[in-house]
Amino acid sequence: MIIVSFLCLFPLIHILAVSLSGSAPATANIVGLWPVDFTIDAYERTLANENFLRALWVSVNRVVLGTIVSMGLLLCAAYALSKSDRDFKGRKIYMWFFVFTMLFNGGLVPTYIVVTRLGLGDSIWALVLPPAINAFNMILLLNFFRTSVPKSLEESAFIDGAGHFKIFLKIYLPISVPAIATISLFTMVFHWNSWFDGLIYNTNAANYPLQTFLQTIVVQQDFSNVDVDAEMMRNLSQRTVQAAQIFISALPMLIVYPFLQRFFVKGIVLGADKE
């Protein structure tokens, strides 16, 4: 079991060690799990790299905007759909409308054509809007609404003259903070880790989010998209700098995931164990 844990961690530790080593030992492949010629030079260079910072900024924007838009839409819809079929005529139709998106999709090429034809190419909306409605998250939210909000509370508010909007804002949202936090975190992780949409919808590499930037630099080893001069090229292609970039991109997840873990376990149970 210790071996399995080690195997899971070892690539990460190795990359961290490489990123903290001098470039000579890294190029000579003598770095194992501990840095050789310790230096934070690679991090200084990465954080001084304008392209990297710009990509980081795009990613931060994307995560914030994407989470707000997605949660706004999902919460409103989940509130309405958490009502019973009798109370909300047409609920079934809406429900199937959303569930069907989990079963079938148009596929890559038609989606690409729709998004670009709407003129969203090279804009952050191409990354935020298409994945905004996640039917699975919506179902988790509405199940939470159904099981956690006391019906009597709602009814007494209604008798006191509150309408749906008021009940939604003043009763449902405050009671559901844990669920909202959980699904928001799901959404943030999704947006932080996404890279493919950044690659296909942006013709201008300056709009790449961080993971897409990393993908072209580290995985494809393709520098043609990113306008770099010879000096920067040397820096980018250096093993220690690449390791530092990988590590910085992984860092937010490494920091939040121990907290996330608990939420996710609950989320899984919430999603799997009904009735």
Binding site: V4, C8, L73, A77, F98, N105, I139, N193, V219, E275
Partner: protein, 309 residues
């Protein structure tokens, strides 16, 4: 849904005649889904046309099933479908067995702190993107000085080009997939173990069952529903061999064994700009996927009483 029915005769019954606010709340989400989920579904007509962007959907020529016929007659396309099936079946089998075995082992650990630490560590790669994991793998698996090959070198094994050899690519894909996903599935199974009725174990101990017998006769049968659910629901993913992973690991050297439907669609559809053919291949995949998902949901409901909402 187990939901108490509100009593219709109750004098305080909530009058829901005015449901317009509910419609108002649903519509923004409906519109976004209509545009970005359903819009592309209508775009599927491209698969039956020779789509030319400047002519649009209305102007392009209709060609019926031409692109589908091309796909089935083209050896390379068949190879791609085969690769997809092989890779995802391997992933499905190992992705079920390894986490299950690991969860059973972890369940035997009584040192709670140790157990939780192992769980946390194994779960970690799940949160990292395939771009990050791909970047790491490319570094550590490099045939020229990657740390894995250096390690193998100690035993006198020649460097292996894991990501560039058709003999090794699938193995590498399956193992790296286990690296990322095992933690997640282990937690699903561990959650299932915790709900097993402890009385059963006590009774078994009285009857003289050892740990192994308890696992075999109590734990595993109790987990049958969750195993069935996980297995049947993965059925719908049988044509998703993992685009993110393959895309970040493969290269032209391993197209023969590693090119899957999704990566193929990306290359012919978007890179080469053969929109119609790409859509046709994608539609074939989505359509089979739809059938398998519905089948999977049906089986999961039938054998494990699981339902989506």
């Amino acid at each position: 849904m187990a939901k108490p029915k509100s009593k219709p005769s109750s004098p305080q019954r909530w009058d829901f005649k005015q449901t317009w606010p509910l419609h108002v709340l649903v519509w923004p989400a409906v519109i976004v889904a209509l545009v970005f989920q359903y819009g592309p579904m209508f775009g599927i007509v491209m698969a039956f046309q020779d789509y030319r962007p400047w002519l649009g959907f209305l102007g392009s020529e209709w060609v019926g099933f031409k692109h589908f016929i091309t796909m089935f007659e083209y050896d390379y396309a068949r190879q791609v479908i085969w690769n997809t099936l092989v890779i995802s079946v391997l992933k499905l089998v190992f992705g079920l067995i390894v986490p299950l075995a690991f969860a059973l082992l972890l369940n035997e650990v009584y040192h709670m702190k140790f157990k939780r630490t192992v769980q946390t560590i194994v779960y970690l790669p799940y949160f990292l993107s395939w771009v990050i994991l791909g970047g790491m793998l490319i570094d550590i698996l490099s045939p020229t000085g990657g740390i894995i090959n250096q390690f193998l070198g100690i035993f006198g094994i020649d460097p292996i080009f894991f990501l560039g050899s058709n003999d090794w690519f699938r193995t590498t894909v399956v193992i790296s997939d286990l690296w990322k996903e095992t933690g997640f599935n282990t937690i699903v199974f561990l959650a299932a173990i915790t709900v097993v009725n402890p009385n059963l174990y006590e009774a078994a101990v009285v009857d003289g069952a050892n740990r192994w017998k308890q696992t075999w006769h109590i734990t595993l049968p109790s987990m049958r529903p969750i195993i069935i659910v996980v297995a049947t629901l993965s059925l719908g993913n049988i044509l998703n061999a993992g685009f993110d992973q393959i895309f970040n690991l493969y290269n032209p050297l391993v197209y023969q064994t590693g090119d899957i439907i999704d990566t193929y669609v990306y290359r012919v559809g978007l890179v080469s700009g053969d929109f119609s053919y790409g859509t046709a291949v994608g539609l074939f995949k989505s359509f089979i996927g739809l059938i398998l998902i519905v089948l999977g949901y049906h089986l999961a409901y039938r054998y494990a009483n699981w339902r989506i909402f």
